[in-house]
């Protein structure tokens, strides 16, 4: 089974990389990009029987730093 974890900086935490991407898009002529937030996707290849609670524990302990990041888990 597979799980996909999306990690994003929380709202209110400045994302200077996203801002740099937004500026670069503007420079390329893509008007109307009001904001860019950059995160990461972590794909996990898991043994059968791994539960969503296990993946949540992985997020809490390592995959995300909940001081600055939020996460979402997709299983399947």
């Amino acid at each position: 089974m597979k799980a996909r974890v999306h990690v994003m900086l929380k709202n209110g935490v400045l994302d200077p990389q996203g801002e740099a991407v937004r500026h670069a898009l503007g420079a390329l002529g893509f008007d109307g990009v009001n904001g860019v937030r950059q995160g990461k996707v972590i794909e996990l290849d898991l043994a059968e029987g791994t539960t969503e609670a296990d993946v949540t524990a992985m997020c809490e302990k390592l995959l995300a730093n909940t001081v600055i990041e939020s996460y979402a888990v997709d299983i399947g």
């Binding site: 400045l14 200077p16 990389q17 995959l63 001081v67 600055i68």
Partner: protein, 193 residues
């Protein structure tokens, strides 16, 4: 020196220093993987027993990832790696790390980091300030750190994390000696302890 895969510190140790560098290539997040290495459990236990811990640069990042210090270090606001000497204001002399300075002193200490932009939520920042746990602030914020924070103390004032490198301003040959007072004060505290 202790290997990261060791799970115990030498007996009777007074202080642990976690140096700068790029542990695990900064993969995932700066300090995140190192914070899970076997030795970090022993460092945490040492701090919880009241032992001294000094984390500099990547060491500070490791300390926030272990939870020994609050907050986190984000990418520099200007996105660039910065390597230069900056002015630091000593915010408190009330710790065995900063007792060699007077609160309000301005010292010149080098920084060399890409992810030194200190972040904590408003409640944490208020607590740090209210408890006099901000050790150093930047006189001219180079990285976007909240409240200009360059270094903070734990609640028991025995764990210090800071992005600047006092060990790189500890000999005339380094081009500055403003970091010496930190190590001298700490050594004095350990000798009398």
């Amino acid at each position: 020196m202790v290997w990261h895969k060791d799970s115990a510190l030498p007996e009777g140790i007074d202080m642990v220093g976690i140096p700068g560098g790029f542990s695990y290539g900064d993969y995932l997040r700066c300090g995140a993987i190192a914070a899970q290495s076997p030795i970090c459990g022993a460092v945490k236990a040492h701090a919880e027993r009241g032992g001294y811990v000094l984390g500099i640069c990547n060491g500070f990042q490791v300390l926030t990832e272990t939870g020994l210090l609050p907050g986190a270090l984000l990418r520099n606001a200007g996105l660039k790696y910065i390597c230069k000497t900056v002015g630091l204001k000593v915010e408190t002399s009330d710790s065995d790390f900063t007792a060699g300075y007077n609160a309000g002193d301005v010292i010149d200490i080098p920084i060399a980091h890409h992810d030194g932009n200190y972040f904590a939520d408003a409640d944490t920042l208020a607590r740090l300030k209210g408890d006099d746990r901000v050790a150093f602030t930047y006189t001219d914020n180079p990285n976007g750190a909240q409240a200009d924070i360059a270094g903070i103390l734990s609640a028991n004032r025995r764990v210090l994390g800071m992005m600047p490198h006092p060990e790189r301003a500890a000999d005339a040959g380094h081009g500055g000696t403003d970091g010496v007072a930190l190590f001298r004060a700490l050594a004095g505290a350990l000798i009398t302890a």
